[in-house]
């Protein structure tokens, strides 16, 4: 029957197509970055000057932009995310909990453009009024916080609840209050889960392009103050791609590979935290 043949054919055709998309896609990205890799002066990349028109491809400013913004964002967003997740996992019950989870879930789906727009129109001018210049590390951290917190809260709520019912009930039955039980029994066993979600949040932060781009100011700069314009790797790719030529263009493809490697490094590190299968 032709239908069965079609079905069976699609069963190997689709995976083949997907695999070829991945292989060819990355192959071409790598291929496009070759001109840069062949002609670059590698000692020149260790500088702060990213001026492709002058043939200077210093990566330090860009990489530090990405790293600084992710670190700052994590510093403010991890406490909030952890606190909210603990609250939702152990202290709020019933319809209120479903409502909160629904709200956070929907917020997680808000596009980065919209969050960036909000940052551009409200956060940046507010910071500008208080501190001089609005664009910069502070605004970008705040925007990144709004993007990182919801998915982290959702994932962490689920992870914190995995396999904790038994020990939690046991602790409660022994007379501990809920807060005490969570703090002393559940959380110490979940340190790896917390570290893992921190790493995942970091990988999301490195992968984020648009929202940071909209509020960072986009001057190639070492971000030494919170209110100075700076630029991340992804923002450089997004901004310079429309007009880049030849070697400049392939340097942008190289930056793409760089950010890919960074994201995967963080994801791998978060996976490496998955040592213990359950509570001790």
């Amino acid at each position: 029957m032709w239908a069965t043949y079609l079905y069976k054919a699609s069963l190997w055709l689709a995976p083949a197509l997907v695999a070829s998309f991945v292989a060819f896609g990355f192959g071409f990205v790598f291929f496009e970055s070759l001109p840069f890799l062949r002609s670059v002066d590698w000692s020149g990349t260790l500088s702060v000057k990213w001026f492709p028109s002058d043939e200077s491809y210093g990566l330090i400013a860009l990489m530090s932009g990405t790293v600084f913004v992710v670190v700052c964002a994590l510093v403010i967003s991890l406490p909030i995310a952890f606190g909210a997740a603990i609250e939702l996992a152990f202290f709020v019950h019933g319809p209120l909990r479903s409502a909160c989870l629904g709200a956070v879930g929907w917020f997680a789906g808000v596009p980065a453009v919209v969050v960036g727009l909000f940052g551009l129109v409200y956060v940046v001018p507010a910071l500008g009024n208080w501190f001089g210049q609005g664009f910069g590390l502070a605004a970008a951290s705040i925007v990144l916080l709004m993007i990182l917190v919801p998915p982290t809260v959702l994932q962490l709520t689920e992870t914190l609840q995995a396999e904790t019912e038994g020990p939690l009930l046991a602790a409660r039955s022994l007379g501990l209050s809920q807060a005490r039980a969570v703090w002393k029994v559940v959380l110490p066993a979940k340190t790896f889960a917390l570290a893992q979600s921190a790493m995942l949040a970091a990988s999301r932060g490195v992968a984020e392009t648009l929202a940071i781009l909209m509020v960072a100011g986009n001057v190639v700069n070492l971000p030494v103050s919170f209110f100075e314009s700076f630029r991340t790797i992804n923002a450089t790719i997004a901004l310079e791609m429309p007009y880049a030529l030849d070697v400049h263009r392939s340097s942008l493809f190289f930056l793409g590979l760089l950010t890919f490697v960074l994201v995967w490094l963080l994801r791998w590190m978060s996976g490496a935290f998955k040592k213990r299968p359950g509570l001790s």
Partner: protein, 297 residues
């Protein structure tokens, strides 16, 4: 005795501190949520006017409607969902049936790639090599690559829920494999597949950077279906209005309100049958508890 009382007080206080801190954190999250949505709410009524939805943009988008944008978004949406399902279902079946490390790692690579790398990938592969140019087709293909891991993940979980004995029984009754799939499996996993589509669409709707390099940002009215023409999806429109065009902020908010409304409506519409027939909730879905979340991951 006194020591026990002190210990109890210490427990009470530290317990209170912890609950207070967590509650504050949760309220902060919800407050941020309301804060971001408030400006959009005011533009909501403007966003849903027919003249806005079908009108032609003028003055680079500062006035007028977003007709071509809506059309581009819808065309992209339909094409990419279609391709995601057509490509993703067989992949999910393969992954659910047997452990296939190669395929799973391919899908994982797609899942972990940052969106801007997808932009470069789509540009290099579809715009240049396949010579599709800046078109909605290359945009849809790129979106498919991005949506695929999310859909495959949900579909695979759903397919794994189907008991193995169904396969054996249907084979013993002489049912061919494609009949088995379409008549036995599909009705069982329909709801989960719809959820997967919603999930991957929420990922795709939020996508801006990758589409910039593949679908372009032409604002012309599209003739016919215009698959091979450049178009501007809504997220790119919002981006352009806010960044590259001066004094277009309220239009940008209007577009953002529209985008959120579309996502929200899509979400609710696809869960409506389930809610009405089976009493499932309209807003929260099992996904929230399973931790499969859209957005940059």
């Amino acid at each position: 005795m006194v020591a026990a009382l002190d210990e109890w007080r210490l427990q009470k206080t530290s317990g209170f501190i912890m609950k207070f801190f967590s509650a504050v954190a949760l309220c902060t999250v919800l407050a941020i949520f309301c804060l971001v949505l408030a400006p959009l709410g005011s533009e909501l009524t403007n966003a849903l006017k027919w003249s806005y939805l079908t009108g032609v943009p003028s003055d680079l988008g500062r006035t007028g409607g977003v007709g071509p944008v809506v059309k581009s978004t819808l065309v992209l949406l339909i094409m990419s969902i279609f391709m995601t399902v057509v490509l993703g279902l067989p992949v999910a079946i393969r992954l659910a049936e047997s452990t296939n490390i190669f395929l799973r790692s391919m899908v994982d690579i797609l899942a972990g790639t940052p969106s801007i790398v997808f932009g470069l990938l789509g540009h290099a592969l579809f715009v240049q090599f396949m010579e599709l140019g800046y078109s909605l087709l290359s945009g849809a293909l790129t979106l498919t690559c991005m949506m695929l891991p999310y859909f495959v993940r949900v579909a695979e979980d759903a397919l794994r829920e189907v008991p193995r004995r169904f396969r054996l029984v249907s084979a013993s009754l002489g049912l061919s494999s494609h009949r088995y799939f379409f008549r036995v499996v599909l009705p069982l996993v329909k709801q989960a597949l719809l959820t997967g589509i919603i999930l991957s669409w929420m990922r795709a709707a939020a996508e801006t950077a990758a589409l910039l390099f593949t679908a372009g940002y032409s604002l012309r009215s599209i003739q016919g279906l215009g698959i091979l023409e450049s178009g501007r999806p809504l997220s790119v429109h919002i981006f352009e209005l806010s960044m590259n065009i001066a004094n277009a902020d309220d239009m940008a908010f209007r577009g953002a309100a529209l985008l959120l409304m579309i996502s929200f409506a899509f979400l609710i519409l696809l869960r409506l049958p389930g809610a009405i027939l089976k009493g499932k909730s309209l807003l929260t879905d099992g996904l929230v508890d399973k931790g499969k979340v859209p957005n940059e991951q």
